[in-house]
């Protein structure tokens, strides 16, 4: 053969790739679909997240989002205004709140022309009385559309447009709420004429500020966070010093209605990235294990090729081509699906949760790297490590089929079980590496399934617990003490402090001053000593404290710090709370000896003048966290559980297939000895069944604790707390998921075993 001819010879081993792909079509298609679907969803997620993130980030400048807002109990005086305007421009952002029904209310503003400008998504802004433009998400959840009539506070309005307010991208009615609530709370814009009509009733005097650029000062966007924070503090101090009647003060970085969306986008992204890489690592190991099985099967061929001069590197590259090829093609297909199909699913998911402004799709190079290049690299590294450990054996060992590293390991002595049971146990012991991988896969699928199945029952349980432990059906927080004559009403004091412990989120903690012999808190054991308080169990869980520890809190507006010893804990599922008796409360916070500012009551207290009520908390308010979380997770959770089932089926199928293939000779031989297909299947399929069953049993408590930690990491980012709870039936469901996966796989395996011919054993001997 001349050099020209020689040059024409490409590595003939490459010709095997397509044939191996075809021979293992089932396995390769299953892994391909799984990777493509996972990457498709995640790539779609990255693209949508990136595009929406850009729209969200851009909205700060595009819609000129405020640097903060404060609410006063009256209109701001010229004197205070003048002092604040040394630092920032002040914009009226007055609003009223009108109820659609008992459960839903709308916060109504007039058009904002300078700060927090309105994004009109569809239709137009109202220009006449009795017209309103409503938040798109709230309208969607309330089944309202342009042209519909909506009754707000007894007045009918025609809906002229769908809007998004950039300072309400997450519909928080109160910045201290644990969760936004687009089902029960919305925002709207009316014409100036319409707003004028409200001024005779209750108006909330809210003002936005924007640090100004006058007198040679920089524009607020050019200031550092520290500089802005300093100015925001000056504004707050001015309001306090001037006794402006401050009801609420929220600097823009602390405003959940503005920032929750952005933070959620960030945390979602890291969550799906971790999910992607865990799945790719598991699939890479499965690929590696199935390839090891092929290598073992082709041991003599590899020995011959190595003896003929093929290097270890050439063999390694050859066996790595297929997994990398499948991963790369699946990644590319996944990316195409991501940009074309899944992106819209994720966009819908965001639009169903947040009141976002309009967006444009941005092509994302990072997404391509994270969903194509990195998975391929993970696949290469895992396969390289696993296959190299096998292919580094000498050619002679391959020729002799002597591939066990620990040749001298003695046979494990088994208890005197029946012969069939010992046979099955031997199969499990022989295939231990496969079954360990099976366990890891089932554990991971179990964690996913647990997450998918536990959240809705957890939220419902939390809702039930809140209702069952509610202290009165109504809680009225007053602007000033108002005496009423109603047996049902019990005075109490409510205030709020913020957590001031290092390394923890600055959460609002409700502080209760409770009357001695309280009817509503009859089971609480309040301390009499000066420094001890009772805290809700949520406080202990969230900050990892215990009875006897100290808790540091401070006033949000004055920065006055307080330190209490935790004397006892109290089951109070509403969230983070500190309890003390009312006298202690007045003493600690230096209040008049008869001061109170709230009523707890089982009945509606109509005798209190509406103007004197700061907030009325009902059962619905208590349940809005549950309701919104249910809304946000509701659609995603069954998908996650379904994904976990698919993953279980895939893992159990691929790994048990390896076990069957590895034992083809032995299966053929026991058939020759006279065992029926049914008996053989019982031996080999049941062995996998035992392994799957044990994996499921062991993985349930592990999943529980892993999920507990993950849940803590997830919840700790929220303001407030919902305790970890797994409904017992969920464990049964997670276990059933593995059993169902196994039953599906067992049917395939039975067919596979049936098809193994008896002469297979003889063929292997011939080799």
């Amino acid at each position: 053969m001349n050099q020209k001819q020689k040059n024409r010879i490409k590595n003939p081993l490459h010709k095997r790739i397509a044939r191996e792909l075809k021979q293992e079509l089932g396995k390769n298609i299953a892994i391909f679909i799984f990777i493509a679907a996972t990457i498709g969803f995640i790539s779609g997620f990255y693209v949508a997240d990136n595009s929406m993130r850009a729209a969200y980030d851009g909205s700060f400048e595009k819609y000129n989002i405020e640097d903060g807002n404060f609410e006063l109990d009256k209109e701001i005086s010229d004197e205070v205004k003048e002092k604040i305007e040394e630092y920032a421009n002040i914009y009226e952002n007055f609003y009223v709140e009108k109820e659609i029904d008992d459960q839903r209310k709308v916060r109504i503003f007039t058009d904002r022309k300078e700060v927090n400008r309105v994004c009109v998504i569809d239709g137009k802004l109202p220009d006449e009385k009795n017209q309103i433009a409503l938040d798109r998400l709230f309208s969607q959840k309330s089944n309202l559309k342009i042209g519909d009539m909506v009754t707000l506070g007894g007045t009918d309005y025609k809906i002229t447009g769908m809007i998004a307010l950039p300072d309400y991208s997450a519909l928080f009615s109160d910045n201290n709420d644990l969760m936004f609530d687009a089902t029960h709370f919305g925002v709207g814009i009316v014409s100036e004429d319409q707003f004028e009509t409200y001024k005779s009733g209750k108006v909330f005097y809210s003002y936005s500020w924007k640090i100004h650029a006058e007198d040679g000062r920089k524009k607020s966007n050019d200031l550092t966070d520290e500089q802005k924070e300093k100015i925001n503090e000056e504004i707050k101090n001015t309001l306090i010093e001037e006794n402006a009647g401050i009801v609420n003060f929220v600097a823009e970085p602390d405003n959940q209605a503005i920032h929750f969306t952005g933070n959620d986008m960030g945390s979602d992204k890291s969550m799906v990235t971790v999910l992607l890489y865990v799945i790719i690592v598991i699939l890479a190991f499965i690929f590696a294990i199935t390839t090891i099985s092929t290598i073992d099967k082709e041991s003599a061929v590899i020995g011959t090729l190595r003896a003929s001069g093929y290097t270890k590197g050439e063999m390694l590259r050859h066996y790595m081509v297929l997994p990398i090829m499948v991963t790369l093609i699946a990644s590319i297909v996944g990316n195409i699906l991501g940009y074309t199909v899944f992106k819209f699913m994720v966009v819908d998911m965001y639009y169903n949760s947040y009141s976002l402004t309009t967006y444009e799709t941005l092509w994302n190079a990072d997404a391509f790297i994270m969903t194509t290049i990195i998975p391929a690299i993970v696949m290469i590294i895992v396969n390289l490590l696993v296959l190299n450990s096998r292919l580094k054996l000498s050619p002679l060992k391959f020729l002799r089929h002597d591939l066990k590293k620990n040749k001298n390991s003695k046979a494990l002595k088994l208890p005197p079980f029946s012969f069939m049971m010992r046979f099955k146990l031997r199969i499990i012991i022989q295939n231990m590496p496969n079954y360990i991988m099976l366990f890891v896969g089932i554990l991971f699928a179990g964690i996913l399934a647990l997450f998918g199945l536990m959240m809705i029952p957890l939220l419902n349980h939390n809702g039930d617990e809140i209702i069952n432990n509610m202290k009165g059906n109504y809680q009225y927080i007053l602007k000033m003490p108002v005496e009423i004559d109603n047996e049902n009403a019990e005075k109490c004091i409510m205030g709020s402090l913020v957590n001031d412990m290092k390394g923890t989120r600055k959460d609002e903690i409700t502080v209760y001053g409770i009357e001695k012999k309280s009817k509503y808190f009859s089971d609480i054991k309040l301390m009499d000593d000066a420094k001890s308080v009772v805290v809700s169990e949520a406080v202990l869980e969230k900050y990892k404290l215990k009875v006897g520890d100290k808790i540091k809190v401070k006033s949000e507006f004055t920065d006055t710090g307080y330190e209490f010893v935790i004397g006892d804990s109290y089951y109070y599922p509403q969230g983070l709370a500190i309890f003390m008796n009312s006298d202690r409360y007045r003493e600690v916070f230096e209040l008049d000896k008869d001061f109170f500012n709230a009523y707890l009551s089982d009945e509606k207290l109509d005798e209190i003048d509406e103007h004197l009520i700061l907030t009325k908390i009902t059962r619905t308010d208590m349940l809005k966290v549950t309701s919104q979380l249910n809304d946000s997770f509701g659609g995603m959770m069954p998908m996650l559980a379904g994904f976990a089932v698919l993953m279980s089926v895939l893992i159990i199928y691929l790994l048990s297939k390896v076990v069957i293939e590895k034992n083809t000779g032995a299966i053929s031989m026991v058939k020759i000895l006279g065992y029926s297909d049914r008996e053989v299947s019982r031996l080999y399929v049941t062995a996998t069944g035992i392994a799957a069953f044990l994996s499921a049993v062991i993985s349930i408590p592990i999943s529980y604790y892993v999920m507990k930690e993950l849940y803590y990491m997830f919840m700790v980012e929220f303001s407030g707390w919902v305790s970890y709870y797994v409904k017992p039936i969920v464990f049964v469901q997670v276990f059933a998921l593995t059993v169902v996966s196994y039953v599906i796989v067992a049917a395939f395996l039975y067919q596979k075993i049936r098809k193994i011919p008896m002469n297979q054993a003889l063929k292997n001997v011939e080799l």
């Binding site: 001819q5 010709k15 003929s308 001069g309 270890k312 080799l767």
Partner: protein, 232 residues
């Protein structure tokens, strides 16, 4: 001298004990000759062949092939030596099941800087009408021919055959031996063949009989008998 083996020793450990399988083997083979290593099971003949082939290592002694000392080579150099100089044939044909006859032969050709003409070789092997078949469509003899083709196509200096007819019937065995003779004559490669079939000693230029890891008898046949005339 093409191949020179001097004082070769090899032991295997089994559990706590050690078994010496080669006890100071020394012999020489000239280029282009056929050398048959005879011996019963456990005599050390396959171990000797594997050490010459660089897929096993000796505890002591020297192997020089065409001037190159084998024991001085590291793993990479040994692999290169096998790639450039050796062809291997085993009792089990060890063909790649999802490559055709021609492609299996190409697997050998790919390794060589100066491979033989593949089509010509396939004709010599008598496999022309089977060249596009998969190994499972071939008889044992045809599979072994393919394995010989894969080893020979590299145009190796040294062809190592470990019981090449061990799994074949009488007639097929004779065909394979004739093919090896033809290859030896046509391509001038040196052949070292391990067998326990005593009759094959007559087709060799040199015969070495091994027992318990030692050479019991070593002689040269002045006249080689054609494999077609052998009987056993």
């Amino acid at each position: 001298m093409f191949l020179k083996v001097e004082n070769l020793e090899k032991s295997y450990k089994t559990g706590d004990s050690s078994v010496k399988v080669l006890k100071g083997i020394s012999f020489e083979v000239e280029k282009g000759k056929i050398c048959v290593l005879l011996g019963a099971s456990g005599s050390g003949k396959s171990t000797l062949l594997n050490i010459i082939g660089g897929i096993d290592t000796a505890d002591a002694g020297t192997i020089i092939i065409d001037g190159d000392k084998l024991e001085k080579m590291n793993e990479k150099a040994t692999s290169l030596y096998r790639r450039n100089h050796l062809g291997y044939i085993f009792q089990a044909y060890n063909l790649i099941p999802n490559l055709t006859v021609k492609e299996n032969i190409e697997v050998g050709a790919y390794l060589s800087k100066s491979p033989l003409d593949i089509d010509d070789l396939i004709k010599t092997l008598g496999l022309w009408e089977h060249k596009d078949k998969m190994p499972n469509q071939l008889s044992g003899g045809q599979q072994q021919r393919t394995a010989i083709g894969r080893a020979v196509v590299k145009n190796p200096d040294l062809l190592l055959c470990d019981e090449p007819t061990g799994a074949l019937d009488y007639n097929t065995s004779k065909e394979i031996l004739a093919l090896l003779e033809e290859v030896n004559e046509k391509y001038q490669c040196t052949i070292i063949m391990v067998t326990h079939n005593d009759a094959l000693k007559q087709m060799a230029d040199k015969v070495i009989k091994l027992r318990d890891g030692q050479i019991r008898k070593e002689y040269v046949n002045e006249v080689r008998t054609k494999s077609q005339d052998l009987d056993w």
